[in-house]
Amino acid sequence: MSVTQPAIAAEHLTLQRGGETICEDFSFSITAGAYVAVIGPNGGGKTTLLRAILGLTAPTIGTVQLFGAPASDARVRRRVGYVAQRGGSIDPQFPATVREIVAAGRAQYGGLLRRLTDEDHRAIADALDRMGIARLQERPLGTLSGGERQRALLARALAARPDLLALDEPIDGLDPASREEFYAALRAIHDEGTTILFVTHDVHRIVQEADTAICLRHELVCHGAHACHIGGTELRNIVHRSQDELAEHHSV
């Protein structure tokens, strides 16, 4: 595989949700190893875009490739770790320990009948250590705080040792201290070369972390290395200003 191959390449992407067009004829490329913030107001289409990138929703028009293969290809999706919005559909009372949840991250490797190997156990222990939750590994999910739960879900994604880590508003509901711990953990993961796709409306904080931004507000507002083109204050304004005021930014 070519070193210069992008982690994500979207071409002429048009996405609709419930008959409403979220974005139209949208093309972009994300370099492997980038830290990408997908920002925009609530309902602006961030999650729809993320789901299209991950192959969970078929685009109305256009294509998405992950590491050079179609996003719909199950084999390439094994390189993806995903933390869904609000913990996805996981019931807080789901009867599972932290370790069992993190171990689920290894299920995407090998065949369906494969048993856990020593390599799997090392990956699980490593993910637990990195998220600082090794001491919680025998605790049931229902006994964890919001911050501990999010770290367990991130550890599950990390246990897959992904090349692309996709996070959908993972810090919602966390207190400031837990948010900072979460950002610090992501920084360490990014430093090792993992591509990070971070969906959030916390523009103020994410511009200090990410090196690239995709800004959506029912349409593509801007895309690129935001530090070169557009400052954090402007991005905040874009997310919060009225639709009519966005036109001047479309050329970014």
Binding site: L56, R75, R77, R78, P95, A96, G105, A107, L116
Partner: protein, 276 residues
Amino acid sequence: MTNGIFDFLAFDFMVRALLAGIVLAFVAPTIGMFFVVRRYAVMADTLAHISLAGIAGGLYVGIAPVWAALLACALAALGIERLREQRVLAPDAIMTLFLFGGLALGVVLLGLRPAIGVSVASFLFGSILTVTDGSLTAIAIIGACTFLITVLLWRALFTVSLDEDVARAGGLPVRFINRTLAVLGAATIAISINVVGLLLIGALMVIPVLAAMQFRVGFRATWAIALAVAVLSVVIGLMMSFSLNLASGATIVLITVFAFLASLVLSRFAAKALRS
């Protein structure tokens, strides 16, 4: 052997019922675990009602009830999964359609030919007298296959049950796994006919799991407790059924309800003890 609690083992039909019940006690909560954690417990009831149509059809063409129920439930389970994937209707609406459609079809088929020589009540509520050598063999084969496939697919079933989207994003074949679970559920219903009956099998799949979940332990530990509850309920229920001349299926289910109530109390004591 006189006046002992195991006197019932002197009767061949009770030995067959006990063996069939133990197979069912291992399979029902194993599949039930995955239904309960996915909030899909009504699936068991839906398939059970559909199996009545299968049994009625089987009586016409000379197929044994276990195999006829398996065929009907498996086809319906795949149909339910397909509609759920297409998001044509909400899952509970889909299952309501199948539940009442299956029940109505079964009643109509049975009514068209009333002199079938078989008690419909024995299918609905279970009758240990109907466990023949042939049905015991079928229960053992279907039960062993169901249990084995579930254990082999355990990690995939767990991962998909935890969060379908995350599993799909990681490249797992979620559709295949969901359909397999639906068919395994159908097999569980099929082997329940003689021991607890169609109207009560949902209880044996769900209540031992609910009892185990009160202890707030991990997935495997919850499963182990649910198995223990189910096996004890079946053994004690069959013994009481024999001794007191009670309906076997209903007695077993009442014991699972008692086990659930006991687990509510025990889990609170255990939590208090841990805190202190």
